[in-house]
Structures are given as C-alpha cells and as structure tokens.
C-alpha cells in the first residue's frame, strides 16, 4: 500500500476527469438517443434509414474501433485543414476528452435510440386517447401524459446505458485521456506495482458504478411512487 | 372422537394456515370419502385455492393435520411424494408445459415418477386423450389449442398418473363461455365413473347435478357444508344466502 503514497491526488484528479467525461457524454447520449428515436419514429424514409444505419453500425462494431476512428480520423482531417492555412503544422487533433466523450456517446446513444423508441411506443394508447378525450391538446397530452409515462419505461434500461458509459470512459485512456487508467500506467512506471495500481482503478470504477446504480434505484422509486400503495 | 375411517381419503383436522401474519385458513375440518364429490364455493379471496393447494402441499399448513389416503402431510418428502402421486390437480390457467407437445405433456410424469416405459406412457396418454375427446391434437403444442381443449389436456395429464383424487381449482374460470360446457362434460363423466373430486367452482349447475356436498367458504372459514339440495334451497347462514343471491342472479 505504501506504493500508493503520492499517487492519491493523481487518482483523485483522474477520477474527476472520469466524472467530467461521464457528464458530457451523458448529455450527448441523451441528445443522440432522442434524435435517433425521433428519426426512427418519423414518417420520413431517409431519416428512418439513417437512424437504422446508425444503430446497426454502432451497436454492431467494437467500441474501441469507433473511438480510434473518431480520434485519428478527426486528427487527420483537422491536420489537413490546418495545413491549408499553415503548411508548417504537423499534427492537430481533437482533445482526447472531446473526441472520447463524443465517441462513447455515439455508441451508447445508439442503444439509447432503441430505448427511447421502445418507451415511446410502450405508452398504452388508451392513456393518450383518454387524455385526448378529456379535451387535452396534443401538446398537453405529450407533456402531461406521454413524457411521464415514457421516462418511467425508459429508466431501467437507461440506467444500464449510464453504467456502460461510465465503464466506456476507461477506453479513452487508449487515446491518451489522463483518467485513472492513465494515472495507473504512470504510477506503474515509477513504482513497478501494476497489480496494486490497476486494482485501485477497478475500485474507483466500482465506486462510480455503485453511485450510478443507487441513483437510478432512487429515481425508479420516485418514478414508480404511484404504485407503492397498491403493495 | 376417532376421526379416521378406512373409506376417508382426505381428512383435514383443525387446519390453520398463515401468510405472514394474515390467517388464510381458520380451523378447517373437512372429510372426503372415497368416491365423494365435493364442490367448494365462496367469494374471491376466501381462500378456496389455498385450501385445496394444502391438500397436495403446494402450500404448507401451519397447524392441524391433513391426511391423504393414510399419509399425513408433514415436511417428510416421502409422504409428500406419496400424496402427490395419488392426487391429481387441474389449475385455473391450465399450466400446460408450453415447450412440449400435448402427448409429451401427458407422458412426462408417468415416465419420471411412475417409471413407465415410453410405449406404456404413450399408450396411457393416448387413452386419456381419447377420453377427453381430443386424440387428434396429440402432436400439437398447447398454444395451438383453444382454452377448452387445453383444459381437457390438463385433465388428461392429471389422469395419466391414475390418481385416487382429483382437485380442480376453478377449471372453467379462464374459459370463454362457449368452452365451459366441454370441460364440465368431461368432469361430469369423471364424477359418474366414481372419481373422488374436490372442485372449486362457481358453476352452480354443475354443483347441483354432480356434487354430493357443497362447501361454502368465507374469509378462510368453512361456513356451511351440505348436500346441494339443502345447500341451495335452504341455506343455513346469512353469508351463504347473500353469496348465492349474488352468484345465481347472474
């Protein structure tokens, strides 16, 4: 354990990076998921086809490939553009933080697309009809009936998506994001204690997963509070 | 008072049953003789199912004694096995094994429990399928049959074990009206042949024509037990009268 002396603050800042990536990627995931679901549910053929292509590709290929493609792809594109202005420039990349957040959000967003789509379709038509019959406008029905029913349905699978997101942040170390796995690699360089250093990373991620799981459980309890009396 | 008698097949004495703190069965006493047909009725939630499920130990009673054909039901697995071999049960929602064809549903228990050979089990199965008048459905899967046909298969499946007693738990409640008769016909035939039966049902016509005794349960108690004539024409208790007025006014 002495080996860890002097590394705790690095792990702490690495964890902060994990949390930051998570928050950014979570917002993007919800965005991609909602756009994807809207496209799939729309009557527009082209939108449907693009959304289907999106979910097929990003759910069917390794996460690491998507990450490498986005990071190195954006880097050569940016470098090419930069060289138009200044031929001296050798290399421009998107910071790993942004490339990585974007990549994992694209991946998890493809799963979220299906979740949101399913939740939208899962709302009992009778509820919507009842609201319309009571004289609520389309928008009122959407806000007061559809959305509350939807997020109740989407929450359990979306909780799993959040766990995927937090775990996928570890991949971003591969392109040089200075998160906990990266910290461990540095620490191993000087202490030569790989087991200790990586176990700490595992423990940190387990902590994050636990927090997310508990938060989702609390949210689910809140979302389903109307069912409690019936028990 | 000597309570057991050689012709008694089922004997319940001071049976109590709790679900947590909720007392489901309250001091139940019931005797069923060989060949006797008992119909149990009562409002929903009156613990009719719980009562008959205690008889083949799908539920455990907490106190009192339950004896089936001389075997007292305790934690002893041997006794439970012995009882279950002699008691057949038909459920409200059929509970046919969905992944097996009809004939496989019928052959499973004879092969595993009675150690019957494949051909014996098959012959028995086909014989009972004929008795419930659907031998032609033998190779179909349950989901391909109508509700009435499925329930007849379930009855045949129980009969394949050659039970001494049959328990029915609202066998027609999940059926569309036009299919109720075909199931009641099979049950009536069975009763005519002398099968000992305990049948939870709200089919009062069936009770009137088939039952030797009708039991009325309410809130976990046996309120009244009488032959059908007496039961229907001259109910003793106010609760029975109220229940009958509700059921018969349909």
């Amino acid at each position: 354990m002495d080996a860890l002396d002097g590394w705790w603050d690095d792990y702490f800042w690495g964890s902060v990076v994990v949390a930051e990536v998570f928050v950014v990627a979570l917002i993007l995931t919800i965005l991609f998921g909602l756009i994807g679901a809207a496209a799939k549910l729309s009557g527009n053929r082209a939108a449907k086809a693009i959304a289907s292509g999106y979910t097929v590709v990003f759910r069917g290929t390794p996460e690491i490939l998507v990450l490498l493609l986005i990071y190195f792809g954006s880097a050569i594109t940016l470098t090419a553009i930069a060289q138009i202005f200044d031929p001296e420039i050798k290399f421009v990349d998107l910071p790993p933080f942004w490339a990585g957040s974007f990549a994992i959000a694209l991946i998890v967003g493809s799963y979220a697309t299906e979740t949101f789509r399913g939740a939208f379709l899962g709302v009992a038509p009778g509820q919507v009809e009842a609201a319309r019959a009571l004289g609520l406008s389309k928008l009122q029905t959407f806000v007061h009936v559809r959305i509350p029913a939807m997020w109740r349905l989407a929450l359990p699978p979306f909780g799993n998506h959040m766990l995927s997101l937090i775990k996928d942040t570890a991949l971003i170390a591969i392109i040089g994001l200075e998160e906990t796995l990266f910290v461990a690699a540095q620490a191993i360089g000087t202490t030569n204690k790989p087991f200790t250093m990586y176990i700490v990373v595992g423990a940190i991620y387990l902590g994050f997963s636990t927090i997310i799981t508990l938060a989702v459980m609390a949210l689910e309890k809140y979302a389903n509070r109307h069912l409690e009396i019936a028990r | 008072m000597d309570s057991s008698n050689p012709v008694d097949i089922i004997h319940l004495e001071n049976v109590n049953k709790f679900f947590g703190t909720f007392q489901a069965l309250k001091n139940i006493n019931l005797t069923v003789r060989k060949g006797e047909r008992v119909v149990v009725c009562g409002p929903s939630g009156s613990c009719k199912s719980t009562l008959i499920r205690c008889i083949n130990r799908l539920e455990e009673h907490n106190s009192g004694t339950i004896t089936v054909n001389g075997h007292e039901l305790t934690d002893d697995v041997k006794n439970i096995d012995a009882v279950r071999r002699e008691v057949g049960m038909v459920f409200q929602d059929f509970n046919l094994f969905p992944h097996m064809t009809v004939v496989k549903n019928l052959m499973l228990a004879p092969k595993l429990v009675r150690k019957a050979s494949r051909s014996e089990a098959y012959e028995t199965a086909m014989r009972y399928l004929e008795r419930v008048k659907i031998p032609e459905q033998a190779d179909k899967y349950p989901s391909q049959l109508s509700g009435g046909q499925q329930q007849r298969v379930a009855i045949a499946r129980a009969l394949c074990m050659n039970p001494m007693v049959m328990l029915f738990d609202e066998p027609t409640s999940a059926l569309d009206p036009e299919m109720i008769a075909e199931v009641l016909d099979v049950m009536t035939d069975l009763a005519r042949e002398g099968m000992t039966m305990i049948c939870v049902t709200h089919e009062m016509g069936f009770a009137r024509s088939v039952a030797d005794n009708v039991v009325f349960m309410d809130e976990g108690e046996i309120v009244e037990m009488n032959p059908p004539r007496e039961f229907f024409d001259n109910p003793k208790s106010e609760r029975t009268r109220l229940f009958l007025s509700q059921v018969l006014s349909y």
Binding site: V56, V57, G60, T61, P62, E63, I64, L65, L68, L69, F72, G73, A75, I76, T77, L163, K167, D168, A170, L171, A173, I174, L181, A184, K193, P194, F195, T196, Y198, V201, G202, Y205, L206, S209, T210, T213 | N56, L58, V77, D81, R84, R85, V87, G88, M89, F91, N95, L96, F97, P98, H99, T101, L108, A109, L112, V113, Y141, S143, Q144, M161
Partner: protein, 231 residues
C-alpha cells in the same frame, strides 16, 4: 480527402489474417464463460447464503468495472503477485492470449449468469406447481420444466451478450495480441489512413455481428415452434 481504394483492398486480407484469433477468443471465452455462468447461477439460486453471497459479489465486481481494467489487472497486474508466478497457471497467465481468454471469460460469465437467472425467474410459477402436483421432484422439475423454458426466455438477451463479447475481443489488441483490431492498428500506425482501415474493419465486424444474430435467430425459431400458430 479521398478514400484510398487500393489501400483498402490491400489491407482487408491482412486484417482477415487476424480473424482466426478473433474467433478463437470469441468461441473459447463464450464456451468457458457459459460454463462458469451456469455454475454461478446454480450457486446463486441454491438458497444457501455462503454460495449465493460470493456469487453476488463476483457479479457485482465484474459488471461494475470496465472490461479493459479487468484485462489490465490480469495481464499487467497478476505477474506482480509471487504466488501467481509460482502457480501451475503461470504458463497460461504469462501469455497475452491466456490472459485475454481469462478476462473475457470471467467478464462474460458475470453477465450471462444474470441473464440465465432472469430466464429462470421468468418461468411461470404455475408451471413448476403443475410439475409438483404431478409428483415430479425438484431436480426433475428443474431439468424438464424450468431449464428448457428458461433457455428460451434467456436466448435473446444471451445473443446480445455474445455480440458484446465479440466486440470485447477487440480489446485483446491492447495487450499486444494481433487479432483483427490489433492488425488494423499496426496498419494505421504505418499508413496513417484511419478512415480506410477502421471503416473496412468495422464492416467486417458488422458481418460477424450479423452472422451471430442470424444463428441465434435460427436457434430461437427452432426452439419456439411451440408458440407458432397452426401450421
């Protein structure tokens, strides 16, 4: 920016040289993982706390941490421990292939055992009672009623997990293995053509995903003859 077709045509055969390794990783860890998952499941539902509790801890840890971290702990971390170096497993654990198989197996087993448990819990209580009423003892009920129905219930989720596992095999490239992804990364390092290489490799993985889905679809169809309507 142009797509270098010649490079793609040149690289695909090279990457396909790694497909054998990718498939070995997939099939070996899928088979071992399934076996371990069944053991975990039986321990979990044994009703004995001293079997169930360690299983729950195992599942919690392996599902709560990134697979990449698990791979690093096993490949880089374990050699730090003397008893590992002295054990009879050392010949396996010193090789990246053995480490990759071990990590993938341990990881997938945690997920699969939960999937199987979902299947077992999904079996209608009434069916088990019907078995009991017919006089079948618990082991017979488990073998002839619970298991076949649970398998059918678990199959769709299981097929998704096999696809996840296939995607995770790409992480073997992070511990020096030259599976398809490993080869692709070396080609990109030489040619600096991430779009051409990574996109064509994604297409290859998509075909694998499609084949896995088709195979499971076929098995599911065969197994669900009983729910098909009148022929």
């Amino acid at each position: 920016m142009s797509f270098d077709m010649a490079l793609i045509l040149d690289s695909i055969p090279k990457m396909l040289m790694g497909i054998g390794l990718t498939l070995q990783l997939l099939f070996l860890s899928a088979a071992l993982g399934l076996a371990l998952a069944i053991i975990l499941l039986l321990m979990r539902i044994s009703g004995r706390w001293y079997l169930a509790a360690p299983t729950m801890a195992y599942i919690y840890i392996f599902r709560g941490t990134p697979i990449l971290v698990q791979i690093f702990i096993i490949y880089y971390g374990l050699p730090q421990l003397e008893f590992v170096r002295d054990s009879i497993f050392w010949p396996i654990l010193r090789e990246p292939f053995g480490c990759a198989i071990l990590a993938l197996t341990l990881n997938t087993a945690a997920y699969v055992s939960e999937i199987l448990r979902g299947g077992v819990l999904g079996v209608d209580r009434g069916l088990k009672e019907a078995g009991a009423a017919l006089g079948l003892r618990a082991p017979h009920r488990f073998i002839y009623i619970t298991t076949p129905i649970a398998i059918r219930l678990a199959l769709p989720a299981y097929s998704n997990d096999v696809i996840s596992l296939m995607k995770s095999t790409a992480l073997a490239s992070t511990i020096t293995l030259l599976d398809m992804t490993g080869i692709a990364r070396t080609i990109v390092a030489e040619t600096y053509a991430p779009y051409e290489i990574f996109i064509s490799l994604m297409a290859i993985y998509l075909i694998l995903t499609w084949m896995i889905q088709r195979s499971f679809g076929w098995v599911e169809k065969r197994m669900s003859r009983h729910v098909r309507e009148e022929v």
